[in-house]
């Protein structure tokens, strides 16, 4: 599809002979928000890790702005800078304050005046309600606060796409909301996002498109209303029935 921000063609990935992704095709346009749903172990996380080349794909290609970024031997640093990712847990560097977590990579990688970089970071801390926590260490922050710092850290690299790998799954229920609010905010700012998530209500509310993944394949995809209310494939119906009780 011309004009696609990100495009996956026939992406296949195995671990030790076990196929985890089978022939995945996916097109993402700029500003789109896509939610990947599916059971644990269905391949959602691997798909995200193949997009930012944390895992090399076995077969198929990943295109970013029309450039094949899955080609072996590429310098991945500049590519990963453009694709931010936040993981489920163990995200932050425990030996640094929240602010230093955010500043480390931009300082090393971006050619930006340190003063304006710090201001930019502080502005993000303020926007996500964490300004008073910026000099704390990760173990002094709640899980929800840690995840929000991880989002700020990824955003400060000025990524063009953000990937979120079940970023609320390791949180206590009462902390999920504050992290989802951050995603809502990013949505209004038009960030291109791909989320692997178990938060069905959230996916339904905000996603442009929901992809149901099962056994390493995109079984069904469509706008949330259609997919959640009138799923066509039996496996999707089963999955939704089990999670939407």
């Amino acid at each position: 599809m011309p004009g696609a921000k990100l495009s996956l063609r026939g992406v296949t990935k195995s671990f030790g002979g076990q196929a985890v992704l089978k022939n995945i095709d996916l097109e993402v346009t700029e500003g789109e928000m896509i939610c990947l749903i599916g059971a644990s172990g269905s391949g959602k996380s691997t798909l995200l890790r193949c997009i930012n080349q944390l895992e090399p794909v076995d077969e198929g290609t990943v295109w970013l702005d029309g450039v094949d970024i899955s080609e072996p031997g590429l310098d991945l640093g500049p590519i990963r800078r453009r694709i931010g990712i936040v993981f489920q847990s163990f995200n932050l560097f425990p030996h640094m304050t929240a602010m230093d977590n955010v500043l480390l990579a931009p300082r090393r990688v971006l050619n930006e005046d340190p003063q304006s970089l710090r201001l930019r970071a502080e502005e993000k801390f303020a926007r996500f309600g964490l300004l008073s926590h910026k000099d704390k260490y990760p173990d002094q922050l709640s899980g929800g606060q840690q995840q929000r710092v991880a989002v700020i850290r990824a955003l400060t690299m000025r990524p063009e796409i953000m990937l979120f790998d079940e970023i609320t799954s390791a949180l206590d229920p009462e902390l999920v909301g504050e992290v989802l609010d951050v995603l809502r905010q990013l949505r209004t700012e038009g960030m291109t996002m791909i989320l692997a998530t178990h938060e069905m209500g959230f996916a339904r509310e905000l996603a442009d498109r929901v992809c149901f993944i099962d056994g390493g394949m995109i079984v069904e995809q469509g706008p949330p209303n259609q997919l959640f209310s009138k799923p066509k494939v039996a496996r999707t119906q089963e999955f939704l029935k089990s999670v939407l009780r």
Partner: protein, 254 residues
């Protein structure tokens, strides 16, 4: 508390009462615990111990630099640098597998035997080299253990931010790894402090050598006892401190 104190007192009393009853006690007392010899030799032994401290002091930075280099060589991921990994592994295997004394003999006698001019034939230099070779192998293993104990997601988080492998190691992995292995390294340092005395075999007149000289001179073993006491004054506090760090670390993690 009372029981522990009582039983300890009983044991000490038994030793003090019973050991002098042994038939050879008078001889042992004269040749190992002579107050006169102790007073006479102690100042010079203490002075000789300064050499041990000096050798220790300049060996430590060298050991840590080389140990870190070897640990990093073993941690490289690039296939092109695989020979470096092999070298690191071989180095560690060899120098951990050979007794320190042997390395000291081989390096300390072998290399100056090549006919090096002064001052390059100094046993201080080659003794230091021998200690650095051996101990850097141990430190490298400790550091490698620390590096591998850092959760893989830390590396993932770092390189996903566009950081290079090198910056990831330097700013994310190593600072955490080094902190984690401080107690283990303290124990290494205590062992090193004692092993410095092994250099006496190849020449330097450090404390053990000095004690040996006094023994021959005075036909009395008290200087060795004095030397042991001097070592204990340094190693016991250091060991206790290492234990304290280790415990604190364990409590912090549980």
């Amino acid at each position: 508390m009372l029981i522990a104190g009582g039983s300890t007192a009983l044991v000490v009393l038994a030793i003090v009462m019973l050991v002098p009853l042994a038939p050879g006690w008078e001889g042992v007392k004269a040749s190992f615990f002579s107050g006169e010899v102790f007073a006479k030799t102690f100042p010079k032994l203490l002075k000789a111990f300064l050499w041990d401290m000096a050798i220790f002091a300049w060996s430590v930075p060298l050991i840590f630099s080389l140990g870190l280099a070897i640990a990093l060589a073993r941690a490289v991921r690039s296939p092109a640098l695989f020979p470096l990994r092999i070298f690191g592994a071989a180095y560690v295997d060899i120098f951990r597998g050979v007794p320190v004394v042997l390395v000291i003999y081989l390096v300390g006698f072998g290399i100056p035997g090549l006919g090096l001019p002064r001052p390059w034939n100094s046993p201080y230099i080659w003794g230091t080299v021998a200690l650095v070779l051996t101990y850097s192998a141990y430190i490298a293993e400790v550091l490698r253990g620390g590096i591998e104990s850092i959760h893989a997601s830390q590396r993932a988080a770092s390189i996903c931010l566009g950081m290079s492998e090198r910056d990831t190691m330097r700013y994310v992995i190593l600072p955490q790894a080094i902190r984690r292995v401080i107690p283990a390294n303290m124990n290494m340092l205590v062992a090193l402090q004692k092993d410095v005395a092994l250099l006496s075999f190849i020449g330097p007149v450090e404390i053990l050598r000095q004690a040996g000289i006094f023994k021959s001179l005075l036909a009395n073993f008290t200087p060795y006892v004095a030397a042991a006491l001097i070592f204990l004054c340094v190693t016991v506090p250091a060991t206790r401190y290492a234990d304290y760090l280790m415990n604190r670390d364990r409590n912090a993690r549980s």
